[in-house]
Symmetry: C2
Subunit: 252 residues, 2 copies
DNA sequence: CGAATAATTGACCGAAATCAATACGGGTGG
DNA sequence: CCACCCGTATTGATTTCGGTCAATTATTCG
């Protein structure tokens, strides 16, 4: 199931073989869902948590006027609703933005881990708090950045996370989102996202086209977005790469 | 130390006498800080977590232009930086808005709880995820609500939380914040907060004056703010009170 | 090829920010 | 006891960023 990716690129030590084994044994099945599926519905009690093997999943709520607002985004290697284990009910939806593959972990087995593997429990706890740290950054983005800065921040954050899992080479990564979805994530309309993206392109900061993000000036983009990746707890090398201060080894 | 308040008014069962005892024994000292103190500084490794006995503490970051942005607010009875236990370093500051009294819990003792008390660990984990749920609502507020609705939502949330701890009678509660701080919490300028508060007063929804919030029409305020308290996991009665559907017993 | 979805561009509008005064209120010290 | 101050609150005039409405052009995919 490749649970190694849970801590890949992080400042913490890797999971031990025993811990990996324990997690693998906790999986009851693998579920495939097509793009657009609401994987977990707001307010419905759940008895299992999902590890995202591949694909992209968004965390969103729908407001009174029917508009969707994204409060989180997840990629392959994320334990996307581990927090449903202590909480039991989610206050938001999880929706597949692409076709996804999900490993299902029943909560009984997580209870077993809680009882028998305190260290692993602490690490799973850590993961849920990493999500909380991202939530705080998403708030920061909304409350204090201009539209161009918000997009810059979002694209830098995503770049940093995807460097950690080896999906981004540091300057270029796939991102299957529409401009409207980018708007849902940054609190902007699709129209304005379009204009702002043009601006970023014209300033030679980055290009987003046909589901690929290409960063021309990472340092500039990070500066515009007031982006510092510390809250992602990445290991020091990746941290530097995410700021554009050093090149990633895989960068051509 | 009155750790009962940790789950007071929540949909979950109360802490057992043993668990209360364990938590009480985990406290190494009680610390008093005057208003304005930065209790925990962003980026500085910490080896203890703080339980807020009394007073108000804000969670904030400072942006490039020096403006402060609030990403959370805590009152007496909240375990304010429990997440520092798995994370080790915070990505934001904790600042005392009033004089505060803090119970200090060294992380070694939390490690002991993690090893020996899986149930209690699960409940502490739950508490940190409650904060995450509030973060999501704060994002929601910023991305989808107008200025009046943001303030309405904020005031309803705070009311709900303070009903749970017995501080609000359902329509009236003390809130030691300036209009500027209200703005930091809702992503608005002090000037605009002032105008919007006047609007809420004129619509007979609520009044905020000399550090007291008085709600004249709770149902209306909740509707304006698109507020639903489900994410706070309050018990059903308090949930209804927080929406203004029933009166709280303590309401005169 | 054609239908649906996504992207792009233009004209206009409006909510909240900004800039700038003024008023209030409650402590402090003369 | 009153005068002074400083932080907070209030109000007005103006600007601006991003939203809304509306239309057109690209893409993608069956």
């Amino acid at each position: 199931m490749n649970f190694e990716r849970l801590f890949q690129g992080r400042r913490t030590e890797a999971l031990s073989p025993v811990e990996l084994e324990v997690l693998n044994n906790a999986v009851s099945q693998v579920r495939e869902c097509p793009a657009g599926t609401v994987v977990v519905k707001q307010g419905v009690p759940v008895h299992e948590s999902l590890y995202l093997v591949s694909g992209t999943v968004s965390r969103n709520v729908v407001d009174a006027s029917g508009r969707r607002h994204m409060m989180g985004l997840h990629f392959g290697g994320d334990f996307i609703d581990l927090h449903a284990f202590p909480l039991r009910v989610l206050d938001h939806n999880l929706a597949a933005l692409t076709d996804v593959s999900l490993a299902v972990v029943p909560h009984e087995r997580l209870t077993g881990i809680l009882k028998d593997y305190p260290d692993l429990t602490g690490r799973l706890w850590f993961l849920t708090l990493l999500d909380a740290a991202m939530h705080r950054q998403w708030s920061f983005r909304l409350s204090s950045l201009s539209a161009p800065a918000r997009l810059a921040h979002f694209l830098c954050e995503t770049n940093a996370r995807l460097i950690a899992t080896g999906v981004s080479d540091g300057r270029r990564y796939p991102l299957s989102m529409t401009q409207a979805e980018l708007g849902e994530a940054c609190g902007l309309t699709n129209v304005h996202v379009n204009r702002v993206l043009r601006g970023l392109r014209e300033q030679r900061l980055c290009t987003f086209r046909s589901s690929v993000v290409e960063i021309h000036d990472l340092e500039g983009l990070a500066a515009l977005g007031e982006f510092t990746p510390d809250y992602l707890y990445l290991d020091e090398t990746i941290n530097q790469q995410a700021l554009g201060l050093i090149r990633s080894p895989s960068y051509g």
